[in-house]
Amino acid sequence: MAAIVSVKDVTKVYDGGFQALKGVNLDIEEGEIIALLGPNGAGKTTLISTICGITTMTSGTITVAGHDIQKDYRVARQMIGLVPQEINLEPFEKVIDTVSFSRGLFGKKKNRSLVENVLKTLSLGDKMENRVMMLSGGMKRRVLIAKALSHEPRVLFLDEPTAGVDVELRKDMWDIVAELKKQGVTIILTTHYIEEAEAIADRIGVINNGEILLVEDKDTLMARMGKKHLTVELADPVGDVPAALAAYDLERSEDGMSLRYTYDTKADRTGITALLADIAKAGLTLRDVKTDQSSLEEIFVGLVQGDAA
């Protein structure tokens, strides 16, 4: 697939001298959902703001479907919709008016039925004539999404769409994103919730200190970097890990009822067969065996800490 958004060597130094982006390169493919994961202050919002034209970059180039965002800003921006992190809405306006306003701002002709449809898809069909200030926080977020979708963009940026929202609304948001992907919209979202990236993204980019540390297919990332754990539950507690099993570097649970073995899924030999055989030899009786894969969170923490070191 061709890159719809292409970011090349982008740097951003703010007036105070703070370097928020240090040579960022990123290609976003059409139709994908990419999650930019990073701690607060990593440069996620600066990167999005730069692509959308809110912040000017210090150096580098960005194109959207081949159009330079500076030289050809009208065409480039028309293809982009942005949902900001903060709920920035004019409180006294009616929902339908504020969404129609956004459509006009992006140069599209008035089209009430299209705007109504966008609102209905976002379950705001019965709130169109309400003033924005009458809506709940969750509905206001939907209005922001409706505004961003009102001009039928090909690329949608969601800046921390679920920061500070309750679990139910977060799930709703994920459903909306999945639905948009089905319609062919490319989605870039920033988040510091790892479970969010894990749940909805196709690819994950990890950003920290203004640099992209890696961009990888979610499944590949987890498989490549993921360690797996094998937990062996015992019928009877053990005091210490038997000397015969010392080579496996097992972790004993506090009550001595289970032992945990960590192995690399990529390795030629995982050592599981030998371990189980040695456990039997050591005279321990197994009650149960389970495996689990390390979460994206562990990968992420590992990367960010490695970066800071």
């Binding site: 800003y73 921006r77 982009i80 809405l89 008016d97 140069g107």
Partner: protein, 253 residues
């Protein structure tokens, strides 16, 4: 040119005007009526005619200018400051529009509001005093240019202001005193010679004088100077707005 964007900005600014109709409409009419009662009837009855015009009629152009200048400034400054304050400015910055289109939308709406208010005050004044407008064309031209230039000034203030206090600062401390001392309620010839000279440094004098000339055919300063002054003022504001556009001052980080 993104005409749709200009249209929606203009429309949404105008709808704010009509939404707050009491504040934006009734209050200037009420305050003007009060001026007529106090200055026109109570004090005016003790003042002789000024340059052959009854005092009540004499103050009409000044009253219109006073309100139009302050309204154009405050409407335009609030119009662009409000999105900055509530954060909706992100949309203007990420939309496929240029600064010129933003200016036309906001300044156009603020100038229109001020123009409407000016016409309402003029209409109100017909109920209080007898006036004839000798040169309606010049009157409309002066009114339009004043609305536009002060809306541009307001736009610049709105971009510059970092908080509500700063937003009020210039209109309260600069515009209002200049307008009050700009010959709105008196003819410069009524002042002692020293103050007549000082007054000539007040740009508003030229605007009020020119506007009054279009009503009564008499003026404190030559009409050509008034025309020159309003043109110069408009040009200065336009140049400043152009500079903001070029540098992204206070808008884009």
């Amino acid at each position: 040119m993104n005409l749709q964007a200009v249209r929606v900005i203009y429309k949404s600014e105008m709808s704010r005007f009509f939404r707050t109709i009491a504040q934006s409409f009734i209050s200037p009419v009420l305050s003007t009526s009060l001026y007529f009662i106090v200055f026109g009837s109570a004090i005016g009855s003790r003042i002789q005619e000024v340059e052959g015009v009854s005092y009540g009629a004499f103050i009409v152009p000044g009253l219109i200018m006073l309100t139009v200048m302050t309204q154009a400034t405050s409407n335009a400054s609030f119009g662009i400051y409000f999105p900055k304050f509530i954060g909706t400015i992100y949309e203007l910055l990420s939309a496929p529009i240029n600064f010129l289109e933003i200016v036309i939308g906001y300044v156009g709406a603020a100038a229109t509001k001020a123009f409407i208010i000016g016409m309402v005050i003029l209409t109100t004044s017909f109920f209080f005093v007898d006036i004839t407008i000798q040169n309606p064309f010049a009157m409309f031209a002066f009114l339009t240019l004043t609305c536009l230039s002060f809306a541009l000034l307001g736009f610049i203030l709105g971009i510059w202001a970092g908080n509500f206090e700063q937003l009020q600062l210039v209109p309260l401390l600069v515009v209002t005193p200049l307008v009050f001392l700009g010959g709105s309620f008196y003819s410069i010839s009524m002042l002692p010679p020293f103050w007549q000279t000082v007054t000539l440094f007040n740009p508003v004098v030229y605007l009020v004088s020119g506007f009054r000339w279009s009503f009564f055919g008499t003026a404190d300063v030559p009409i050509a100077m008034s025309l020159g002054a309003i043109t110069l003022f408009t040009a200065l504001c336009l140049a400043f707005v152009w500079w903001i556009f070029k540098t992204g001052w206070k808008i884009r980080s």
